[in-house]
C-alpha cells in the first residue's frame, strides 16, 4: 500500500483537521465527533440539511457544506457508515428548531444508522425527515432486496435540497423536491483500477492489465460485467445507454450531466468521455442544461468514472442554479 498518510487508523481524524484548517471561516468541527458543520450552524429559521456516510468519497460529503447546500456532514471510517450516535450528534448540531433533513445513500449500514439516529432525535421532539438516494442503475431496482446503491447522483440531491432549504422551505417541501430529484436521477460507473482501504492495506479487488469492470460501486462492489477495456467512446456509450434504458428521455427533455471521476482518472479523460455523452444526448434530441465534469463522488484512488443524468423541470433548474457557497460546488 502506497499512500501519503500517517497512521492508517487515524486517516479520518487527520483529514478532518486538515479540512477545518483549510477553511476555518466556513467549517466547524464538533469536538469529540466526526461531524463537520457550517461555521454558522445552527442557522435560524432554516431546516438543517445533513448528509454523510463512510469516508473515502471526498469531496463527498464535507466538501458540499456551505450556504445553499449542506449544513453538516457526518463522516464514518473509510467505506464504513457512521454510527448512530455520530449521526444523532450531527442532527442536534444543525437543528435550529425547524427540523433536520437527512440525505442518505442507499446502503444498509447508512440507512440503519441514520434511521436510528432519527428516532433518537424524534424522541426528543426534533423533527427529522429524510430521503434515500438510489441512482445506480447497475443494480436492479427491487423492493425485495437492498436495492440500488446511491452514488454520484447524490450530489445533485444535496444541491437541490440545499437550495430549497436555503430558500426557507419547510421540511415537507424539502422532502418533496428531494424525492422528485431522486426519482429523476440515474447514474452508472466503471473502473479500470482498484483502491486500497488504509486500514485493510490490500486492494479491495484486482483487475488484469486489460480488464475493466462496468457497473462497479463506489466501494468496489461488483458491477455488471468484467471485460477487456475498450475506447472512451464505447465506455461512454455503454454507461449512457444503460441509464437511458432506465430513464426514458424524449426529444426536448432537459437534463443536467455529471461526468464524475472516481479518484485516479485525469480530468483529460473525463472530458473525452463527456464529448461522447453529449453527442449521444444530442442525437436523441435531449437538451443539456448544465454539465459538471470533475471529481464529485470518489472511491479513494480508484481509476474510473461514472455518468449521471438528472432530468430537469423548471423547479429543479431554478434550484440547481441557486447560489451555493459549498467549497466543492460553488455556484454564483
Amino acid at each position: 500500500m502506497k499512500k501519503i498518510i500517517n497512521d492508517p487508523h487515524q486517516v479520518v481524524q487527520d483529514m478532518i483537521s486538515g479540512m477545518i484548517q483549510a477553511a476555518p471561516d466556513q467549517l466547524k468541527h464538533i469536538e469529540g465527533t466526526t461531524v463537520i458543520t457550517r461555521k454558522d450552524a445552527q442557522v435560524v429559521k432554516k431546516v438543517g440539511l445533513l448528509s454523510g456516510g463512510g469516508s473515502g468519497h471526498e469531496p463527498a460529503h464535507a466538501g458540499y457544506i456551505g450556504k445553499g447546500m449542506l449544513d453538516a456532514a457526518v463522516l464514518g471510517e473509510v467505506f464504513t457508515s457512521p454510527s448512530v450516535d455520530q449521526v444523532y450528534k450531527a442532527i442536534k448540531a444543525v437543528d435550529s428548531g425547524e427540523g433536520v433533513f437527512q440525505i442518505i445513500k442507499n446502503y444498509t449500514g447508512d440507512v440503519l444508522n441514520f434511521e436510528m439516529a432519527r428516532e433518537l432525535a424524534e424522541a426528543e421532539g426534533i423533527k427529522v425527515a429524510q430521503v434515500v438516494v438510489n441512482d445506480d442503475v447497475a443494480v436492479e431496482d427491487s423492493s425485495f432486496t437492498t436495492g440500488r446503491r446511491g452514488i454520484a447522483g447524490t450530489v445533485f440531491v444535496h444541491k437541490i435540497a440545499g437550495a430549497k432549504a436555503d430558500l426557507g422551505a419547510s421540511l415537507e417541501e424539502i422532502k418533496k423536491v428531494a424525492e422528485k430529484t431522486v426519482a429523476n436521477v440515474r447514474s452508472m460507473g466503471m473502473a479500470i483500477s482498484s483502491c486500497t482501504i488504509p486500514a485493510a492495506g490490500e486492494p479491495s479487488f484486482t483487475l488484469e492489465e486489460s480488464e475493466m469492470e462496468v457497473g462497479i460501486g463506489i466501494h468496489g462492489e461488483p458491477g455488471i460485467e468484467r471485460k477487456n477495456i475498450t475506447t472512451a467512446d464505447q465506455i461512454a456509450t455503454e454507461l449512457t445507454e444503460k441509464i437511458l434504458e432506465d430513464m426514458k428521455l424524449t426529444e426536448n427533455d432537459e437534463v443536467a450531466v455529471m461526468i464524475n471521476g472516481l479518484g485516479a482518472t485525469p480530468l483529460m479523460e473525463l472530458y473525452i468521455v463527456n464529448k461522447k455523452v453529449q453527442e449521444i444526448l444530442q442525437n436523441k434530441g435531449v437538451k443539456v442544461y448544465r454539465t459538471f465534469v470533475g471529481e464529485y463522488m470518489t472511491a479513494l484512488e480508484m481509476g474510473g468514472c461514472s455518468v449521471t443524468l438528472l432530468k430537469l423541470d423548471d423547479e429543479l433548474k431554478k434550484l440547481l442554479d441557486h447560489p451555493s457557497d459549498a467549497a466543492n460546488f460553488l455556484v454564483k
Partner: protein, 207 residues
C-alpha cells in the same frame, strides 16, 4: 433459574472473547460477500461494550443490556451496529422493572430482540442475514421450560452453516446475487458466537 447481573456480564465477556478470537475469520467471510469489515467492526464494539459493563455496578439486568446496546450502536457502525444494538435495546426494555428473571423472561426478551432486528432490517428468515440464526435458535429455546444448552449450541451451529445455501437478498451480500451462494453469512457467524456464549453461561448456572 434466575438470570442475574453477573450472568449478563459473563455472557458479554464470553461473547467478546469468541468474537476477538475469530476477528480474522469474520473479516474474511465479509471480504468474500461484503466489504471485509465485519470482524473489525464487531471486535471494536464488543470489546468496548465488555469493558463498559465490566467496570460498572448494576442493580438490575435491564440496565446492563441497555449499556451494551448503547455501546454497540456507537462503536460497531456498519449494518451490524444498529442491528445488534436494537436487539439488546429491546431485550433491555422487555426486562425492565423485573428484579428476578427466569428462563421464560429471558427467551421473551430475546424474541423481542429478534423482532427488533427484523423490523430494523426489514428482513425475514431466508435472506442470508443474522435473522437466519436468531429465529431458529429462539424457536428452539421457546419450546423448553428450562434451558437446554446443548440444543442451543447445535441449533445455532446448524443454522449458521445453513446460511451457505442461501442467496442473499439483504445487505451488501445482495449485490453478489447468485455469487453469494456457497459462503457463510458473516453476521450469522457472529450471532453463532453470541448464542454459543449464552449457552455456556446457562450451562454454568445449572451446575
Amino acid at each position: 433459574m434466575n438470570f442475574d447481573v453477573n450472568d449478563a456480564k459473563e455472557w458479554l465477556k464470553k461473547a467478546n472473547e469468541k468474537i476477538a478470537d475469530n476477528k480474522q475469520l469474520l473479516t474474511k467471510l465479509d471480504q468474500v460477500i461484503g466489504d471485509g469489515d465485519h470482524g473489525i467492526n464487531m471486535a471494536r464494539g464488543f470489546n468496548e461494550a465488555a469493558q463498559t459493563v465490566n467496570e460498572k455496578e448494576y442493580d438490575n439486568v435491564s440496565d446492563v443490556f441497555k449499556d451494551i446496546a448503547m455501546t454497540i450502536m456507537s462503536k460497531v457502525g456498519g449494518a451490524a451496529g444498529p442491528l445488534y444494538g436494537t436487539a439488546f435495546l429491546r431485550l433491555s426494555f422487555s426486562l425492565k422493572g423485573k428484579d428476578s428473571i427466569d428462563y421464560k423472561d429471558l427467551v421473551k426478551g430475546l424474541s423481542d430482540g429478534l423482532t427488533g432486528i427484523k423490523q430494523r432490517g426489514r428482513s425475514k428468515v431466508g435472506e442470508k442475514t443474522l435473522v437466519d440464526v436468531w429465529e431458529p435458535v429462539i424457536n428452539e429455546m421457546s419450546e423448553t421450560i428450562e434451558a437446554q444448552p446443548p440444543q442451543i449450541k447445535d441449533t445455532a451451529k446448524t443454522a449458521m452453516e445453513k446460511t451457505k445455501e442461501i442467496m442473499a437478498t439483504k445487505g451488501r451480500a445482495a449485490y453478489f446475487k447468485e455469487k453469494s451462494i456457497g459462503h457463510i453469512d458473516p453476521g450469522s457467524m457472529s450471532s453463532y458466537y453470541l448464542f454459543l456464549a449464552l449457552a455456556e453461561v446457562l450451562e454454568g448456572r445449572q451446575s
